[in-house]
């Protein structure tokens, strides 16, 4: 047991994480943040007070036992630390990298009240990476319970749901339309933020749990949700297909050849490896002067990908100010370091035609902030007469997505007005046995929120199937019913 620590005795400074030099990394796809060494991790773990309140656990959408795993790191028991995380989150290496910890666990950290909070995300990544290096898997010791679960979409929501159902003894099949599983973790988030090998390793872990992945399978068209329940013998289905369908700006010049969605750019580059064209067959447009519209995490990814593909100048055009920018502070900071030029309070009016079907530039207008709008952010208002043009040969839209229509087109599931799947508080859709979560329910959100939804749906599915968690019944539920003894799920009712 560690000796009693106080805020005065712990290392006062947060342990920095080594990063690739900004200039060098803007030319390569290797990971920007290099991760902690054991020494650094131990030092940072020492900063956790192991306080009795454990606010960080409540701050985590999947309620990881954060002090628990940090204590294990302190004891140099990395395997133990991994097991603690893996109880609730099988994707430690992913979440340690892409979760917005500053608005979740680290935001409420007790140390953070007087010093910089414990670098929980970095420690989680450290443990996740160690698990991958040592190929620590968690083989399910649970008796198969005979239930078959179909999961539509292999992104974070589907993976989290699959993990929970497999751990409870269900036979889980995950269907993916692309030729590789991973969803947005593969096609969306670039390698310099989340290497594909990390995603592959996490998927391999799910396979070890007994989860089957079926790629090249477009659910809705190859078979329907109804068929999964009625004909294919799935006892319950989870839909985590994501938001998909990128928004277009709707300004003149939208369909010019130099204009594309961030989704297209990222998919070509990340999943289809267009950056290695011609060794890989998929091409990607290479702009010299690129303007990315939007300032979310996807926009940051798109801009930094363009830089790495060889763009000379990359601009970020955003109609609100930096304060309203939805990207993680760290991502904006990284983008700035790499030389992205930010144009805050600037709205595009028109994409200018080069006369050959391509892009010559953009016409923009300056904005100023007015009264707060529905989202609580101050509404940007155009400044009269402030129109100006600037040069660009490629424009990337990263202005959000709409609901993917395929499931709606091919099933009787109830949709809301905006085309997303309608669910109740337990994430049940309008069809018995069919659950949904992640972006296809909420609209675009974060990886960890999607995982939280996947786990919540898993809990509902277990209840629907009549599996009861003895431990949970005894101790009362936590936010998502996270418990340490999911193996005790017992089947008490045959569906």
């Amino acid at each position: 047991m560690a000796k009693k620590k106080t805020i005065r005795t712990i290392p006062q400074e947060r342990t920095p994480m080594r990063e690739q030099d900004a200039r060098a990394r803007a030319k390569n796809f290797a990971e920007v943040a290099c991760g902690y060494s054991l020494e650094e991790a131990l030092r940072e773990a020492e900063r956790c007070l192991l306080c009795p309140d454990e606010p960080c656990i409540k701050g985590c959408p999947v309620n990881i036992d954060i002090p628990g795993f940090i204590r294990k790191i302190g004891e140099k028991d990395l395997r133990g630390a991994y097991d603690v995380i893996a109880e609730t989150n099988l994707l430690a290496a992913v979440c340690g990298r892409v979760c917005p910890q500053e608005t979740q666990c680290e935001k409420v950290c007790t140390v953070g009240e007087s010093l910089e909070p414990v670098a929980i995300g970095r420690l989680e990544r450290f443990v996740g990476d160690a698990a991958i290096q040592n190929a620590w898997g968690r083989v399910s010791s649970v008796e198969p319970n005979g239930f078959r679960i179909g999961i539509v979409g292999s992104g974070p929501a589907g993976m989290a749901c699959a993990a929970d159902m497999a751990k409870a003894g269900c036979e889980v099949t995950v269907f993916e339309a692309f030729h590789q599983p991973g969803g947005v973790l593969k096609y969306g988030i670039p390698d310099f933020r989340l290497p594909n090998e990390v995603v592959d390793a996490e998927i391999e872990n799910l396979r070890k749990l007994g989860v089957t992945f079926e790629c090249n399978t477009l659910v809705g068209r190859l078979f329907t949700i109804e068929q999964m329940i009625d004909e294919m013998g799935f006892h319950a289905v989870f839909i985590g297909t994501g938001a998909g369908y990128p928004s277009m700006l709707g300004v003149p010049g939208d369909s010019l050849n130099g204009v594309l969605s961030a989704n297209e750019l990222l998919t070509r580059c990340n999943l289809l490896r267009a950056r290695d064209f011609p060794e890989f067959d998929t091409p990607v447009p290479l702009g010299r002067q690129v303007a990315v519209i939007g300032a979310g995490n996807t926009a940051m990814d798109a801009m930094r990908v363009c830089l790495r593909l060889g763009a000379q100048k990359v601009h970020c055009v955003y109609r609100r100010s930096r304060t309203e920018c939805p990207a993680r502070a760290e991502e904006v900071h990284h983008a700035e370091q790499e030389g992205i030029e930010f144009h805050w309070l600037t709205a595009p009016l028109e994409i200018l035609d080069d006369g050959k079907g391509g892009v010559r530039g953009m016409r923009c207008i300056r904005m100023e902030l007015g009264e707060p709008d529905d989202s609580g952010r101050r509404r940007p208002v155009p400044v009269k007469g402030s129109e100006f043009d600037f040069e660009a040969d490629q424009v990337v839209y990263a202005i959000g997505t709409n609901a993917n229509p395929i499931i709606g087109q091919t099933s009787r599931l109830k949709l809301n007005k905006r085309g997303y799947l309608e669910t109740d508080d337990d994430l049940a859709t309008s069809m018995a046995g069919v659950y949904a979560g992640g972006d296809i329910v909420t609209g675009a959100a974060t990886v960890i929120e999607a995982m939280g939804a996947g786990r919540k749906a898993a809990r509902s599915m277990k209840a629907y199937l009549g599996m009861r968690d003895a431990q949970q019944a005894a101790t009362g539920a936590t936010l998502f019913g996270i418990d340490l003894r999911e193996r005790n799920f017992a089947r008490i009712r045959v569906a």
């Binding site: 030729h179 599983p181 992945f213 490896r273 998929t282 091409p283 993917n404």
Partner: protein, 311 residues
Amino acid sequence: MQPGQPSRFEIVSRQDFSDATYLLEVRHPMMARAARPGQFVIVMSHEHGERIPLTIADFDRSRGTITLVIQAVGKTTRQMQQTCKAGTALYAMVGPMGIPSPIGRAKKVVCVGGGLGVAPMFPQARGFKENGAYVIGIVGFRTRSLVFWEDKFRSCCDEFILCTDDGSAGIKGLVTEGIRRAIAKHPDIEEVVAIGPPVMMKGCAEATRAHKIKTVVSLNPIMVDGTGMCGGCRVKIGGEVKFACVDGPDFDGHKVDFDDLMSRLRRYAQEERAAAQRWSENCRMKDLADAVGPAVELLELPDPFEDVKGG
């Protein structure tokens, strides 16, 4: 570690229609059951390949196969022409994608197929015939040697017009000439369905516009995922932006902005030329080294490799 190791999509038969056009019959019993006329698949021939959309030319539920007809025009389709033999397998095939063509109860329809478009037109013509329509089939090719599926197509038509650009088979002229004749003879045509190169479909839409005959076309823009996720396939339909992969691929021909579609199809022209050129060079080198093998016939490629940005 190979997560997502795809199952194999075995090619059970292959047929060559000409130097450039070939048919692949791929085993996929589940897809054969699900496929409807007008839908398409996305295919990857190998792990490093690109995803290419191909309209389903036919499906055989008893054999459990999907038929694709492919024209060797770019690097991928030419490479597939060489490597995709019966007994080999595709790396990936996903589908059926898109909204199936609504084969209604029209009493008299014209089914127009141009070049490669003849193949995906066939199951629609057959569908109309099965629904009891009077089907006028019009197919167009550049020249006689490129003609395929003439008998197959004819078998589900009440009338059949074959057009070639040079008059070497059937009537001399474009399919629009065939449409003109059909309209002149049958004032009661309710619907025209056209599949082929964009310029042909544009011509068909123009040929029927004055007669106010409902005209459906199947669009084939550049796609990545085919599931509505990338927006690369966006087309302008009556001033609105639609994604061909999930909102189509069939649209009202009178509303399609064909010029926009054709311009967008040229988007990767440079990269495509470069890839094809590079691939041809490699084949030539390989053939030189491998004196036994027959020389690969190479297409003339206008743009020099150095001009290209890719790589």
